[in-house]
């Protein structure tokens, strides 16, 4: 079995990230599992850029991994920042035309003059990235043909001359290693012989999920880290006959989505925290008028502009409660790249079925990292659409009729006899304005009761590890893989750890969680925010007040690692009496 964490660091805008991406694709095409993590500067040029790629031949990769096995440092800053996270006995590959590392025996070091080879042998400085890939190919056994194949697809359009320069650079890297480097480590990437994987970022998987769910109208405003959804769908949505609008602001984006949904179409927007803040007034309108729609929030560190390129899970409370009055909505947390695809289908299905806004929480780390997934079988997906009025309903049409499940058939403009006027003012079942407290009580209850039905869905939570554990771990959203890996590692060591991971965050899966926690004394709650938002909601909803909730909260930047979660679980189990 091979399981290797590669980390690439260098100057932003110099191709460090795209080098990591090429490396990633080459490994996925070799049938390997991939999990990437990246950190950009907010600036387009300059600053420090880092991408970490975990490559393995196991069945599933749950996290970005802990310390790095291989550090590829393009400059001194990369070395200074990351060397301490290179494990003992790990491999440092560095550009010795840029800097020389301190002398120590902690790691194995391969100096390779990327810059010098690029300038002297190829004559183009930026081909140093290809030189590096060639060197890695030779050092760790990834076939160089894979790199060349991807280069041809990526740069083929730029002409044969450019392509040949890149090929020469790859070959120069290979040759340099053959002639000058004596391999002193035992790390090898083993092509698995399995079918090639799709390599998708979280945002790409999410966008594909929306298309598979039947998305028809997308509206959005550029914002990091959600812009890649806008760009992906700008390219792909028109191919399916849908429409995309880049609006003047996020308020207009949700406005377009509300309008399109009113007209009978599946519609969504995607944004980040600042955009969701702008949308909350209209979110109330959507809840009040019972419009099916999906809002994706790719969370980033806040408040205010915060750290646009850094991850955080700090919008949970806003997603659940944001807005004036009490506007019910469903909130889902996406848990992995694969879940981004299937989670969006669930989001649209729930929006349509319950005629409600659905907020989908992802975050910068999940949005931008790539992972390998097996190609989804689109012929077996369950796709739901909203309940339409029957002829009998239309005979005396009441848009907000109270039914046994509180879901009212929704007329669509164009239908004869379905006339109604949707309004944000409190209204009767027939849709007429009404200010009577009794009617308000009845209608607000209808809207709240309606979405509770979602808690009967089978997918709302997922369990891992030991049933009836001595320590349970409950996290949410993109922490799933990290927690699962911590549980697996702890149980290998003989601990009795278990995890429940809710995919639904609102309405809160109170019953499922309380049932799971019967007999459990301690719960560790890892999340990426300062105040422990999920832990607070969990505490409010625990039936057994003796359960000790250990909030493991830190503000964003870098996700928890499996080792950190496991350490906390161990600490909790020590006190177990």
């Amino acid at each position: 079995m091979s399981d290797i964490v590669f980390r690439f660091g260098g100057e932003g805008g110099e191709g460090v990230i795209s080098t990591g991406e090429l490396f990633t694709t080459a490994c996925a095409r070799s049938g390997l599992e991939i999990y990437t993590f990246r950190s950009y500067p907010a600036e387009i040029k300059g600053g420090h850029a880092m991408i970490q790629v975990r490559v393995a031949d196991v069945n599933i990769l749950l996290s970005r991994g802990g310390t790095a096995d291989v550090l590829v440092a393009f400059n001194k800053e990369a070395y200074d920042r990351h060397y301490k996270e290179l494990r003992d006995g790990g491999v440092l590959v560095y550009d010795n035309t840029d800097f020389l590392p301190d002398e120590d025996t902690r790691t194995i070091k391969y100096p390779i003059p990327f810059n010098k080879i690029a300038m002297e042998d190829i004559g183009i400085r930026l081909t140093k990235n290809m030189v590096a890939l060639g060197a890695l190919s030779e050092l760790f056994g990834i076939p160089q043909d894979k790199f060349k194949e991807i280069c041809r697809e990526k740069f083929g359009k730029k002409g044969e001359a450019v392509l040949q320069k890149n090929f020469l650079a790859i070959e120069a890297g290979v040759k340099y290693v053959q002639q000058n480097v004596k391999k002193a480590d035992s790390l090898r990437v083993q092509p698995s012989g399995r079918q090639p994987r799709l390599v998708l970022s979280g945002n790409e998987a999410l966008s594909l999920g929306a298309l598979a769910a039947g998305l028809n109208v997308y509206a959005g405003y550029p914002i990091t880290p959600a812009s890649t959804i806008l760009e992906f769908l700008a390219r792909e949505l028109p191919k399916t006959g849908g429409s995309l609008i880049q609006t003047e602001d996020e308020i207009a984006a949700l406005g377009v989505v509300c309008g399109a949904s009113f007209a009978g179409k599946k519609a969504m927007t995607a944004t980040s925290g600042p955009g969701l803040s702008l949308m909350v007034e209209m979110l109330g309108l959507a809840a009040m008028t019972e419009l099916p729609l999906v809002i994706v929030d790719a969370q980033r560190a806040g408040p205010s502009t915060g750290m646009p390129t850094k991850t955080e899970q700090s919008d949970l409370m806003m997603a659940i409660h944001g807005g004036h009055g009490e506007a019910p909505r469903i909130v889902l947390g996406l848990t992995s790249v694969e879940d981004c695809f299937y989670g969006m289908i669930r989001a649209f299905n729930m929006a349509e079925y319950y005629q409600t806004p659905v907020i989908v929480l992802t975050d910068q780390a999940l949005a931008q990292r790539e992972a390998s997934i097996v190609k989804p079988d689109t012929s077996h997906l369950e796709i739901l659409t909203r309940r339409l009025p029957t002829a009998a309903d239309l005979a005396d049409y009441q848009r907000y009729k109270i039914t046994p499940d509180n879901i009212s058939p929704m007329a669509i403009p164009g239908m004869p006899d379905g006339f109604y006027s949707a309004t944000g003012i409190e209204h009767t079942e027939a849709g007429g304005l009404n200010y009577e407290p009794a009617n308000h009580g009845k209608m607000i209850e209808k809207r709240w009761k309606k979405i509770e039905g979602v808690l009967k869905q089978p997918w709302i939570t997922k369990n891992y590890g030991t049933p009836n554990p001595e320590v349970a771990i409950i996290g949410w959203g993109s922490e799933e893989g990290v927690i699962r890996e911590a549980v697996e590692n702890g149980n290998k060591e003989g601990m009795k750890l278990g995890a429940m991971h809710p995919k639904i965050l609102w309405p809160f899966p109170t019953e499922a969680i309380n049932t799971y926690l019967k007999g459990v004394k301690r719960v560790v709650v890892p999340e990426l925010n300062y105040s422990g938002q999920f832990a607070k909601i969990l505490k409010q909803n625990l039936q057994d007040r003796n359960i000790d909730v250990i909030s493991m909260a830190k503000p964003g930047g870098i996700p928890w690692s499996p080792a950190e979660v496991l350490a906390q679980a161990k600490e909790a189990s020590k006190h177990y009496v």
């Binding site: 028109p238 207009a252 309008g259 009113f262 109330g284 949707a422």
Partner: protein, 280 residues
């Protein structure tokens, strides 16, 4: 569908407006225009913002969406994009259009969806009891400006012309036939049309007496394609001109979106599975 009379376009719901409100005139002219255009009510959506005028949708036999303050235009755009076959008419007041929602107008002008926007402009916030609006005169004394406002009014027509809205007109709720004709013409226009309708508030800012002498029809020889001339008319401060200032046909948003989809699709619609292969 057999032709409906103007009265048949009205629902039985009694408007909440004060007796004598200009908005009754707008509602009448609208229903007359719908009758002339023979619009099928099932394919029509009235979208409104917040304010007295925002109450209009349920008074017309059609689908309606009474939304939030200032956002009538993006929501109307979503409806039109969602189903381009619908007749979409947006209505609202001057606070809705030019204060809280003013930021959307330039982008409507750029996009140019086939939506008629009727602004019932009375210079005041009637529903909140008479504060000055962006079109109220300088020095207007209200509860929120007891010493008189210190902000001069904006000029909605000049603003719409500056944004290059493709159809710009002004009407008066007291001149029903003329207003009806303007609405019909706006509905015939392919693209975004904005009609600023002076629609006095009888309770908080009654201008019925002083208004008529200031009104003048746009000269019959005005060339509606001449934007510079339209500006001249809009900037005149001796008269308030009524009629079509500017009309310029250009591709509508919904048509451009369709073109984009056709271009993206090429020969045939690809299956989702083909999009997956881009990531292999």
């Amino acid at each position: 569908m057999s032709k409906m009379t103007a009265v048949q376009y009205k629902t039985k719901i009694e408007p909440v407006w004060c007796p004598g409100c200009g908005d009754f005139g707008v509602l009448n002219a609208l229903c007359n225009a719908l009758s002339v255009k023979e619009v099928d009510p099932k394919n029509m959506v009235f979208v409104s913002g917040i304010g007295c005028s925002g109450r209009l949708p349920p008074y017309v036999q059609s689908y309606g969406f009474h939304t939030v303050h200032g956002r009538v235009l993006p929501i109307a755009t979503g409806i039109k994009v969602g189903n381009p076959d619908l007749t979409v008419i947006a209505v609202g007041g001057d606070g809705d259009a030019f204060a809280i929602g003013g930021g959307h107008i330039p982008h409507m002008a750029r996009r140019n969806p086939s939506i008629v926007y009727i602004v019932m402009d009375n210079g005041t916030y009637g529903l909140t009891k008479g504060q000055a609006s962006p079109t109220g005169p300088l020095g207007m004394k209200t509860g929120a400006s007891p010493y008189g406002t210190v902000e001069p009014p904006l000029n909605p027509i000049a603003m719409a012309l500056a944004y290059d809205a493709s159809f710009v007109a002004r009407g008066y709720s007291g001149k029903n036939k003329e207003l009806e004709a303007l609405i019909v013409r706006a509905m015939n226009h392919r693209g975004f049309s904005i009609i600023d309708v002076i629609s006095p508030c009888i309770t908080f800012y009654n201008t019925y007496k002083e208004l008529p002498p200031q009104l003048a029809a746009i000269p019959a020889d005005h060339d509606v394609k001449d934007r510079a001339k339209a500006f001249e008319l809009a900037l005149r401060d001796d008269k308030i001109h009524l009629g079509v200032f500017y009309e310029n046909e250009r591709p509508a948003f919904e048509d451009r979106l369709k073109e984009t989809a056709d271009k993206a699709r090429g020969a045939g619609a690809p299956k989702l599975d083909e999009i997956f292969l881009e990531f292999a």
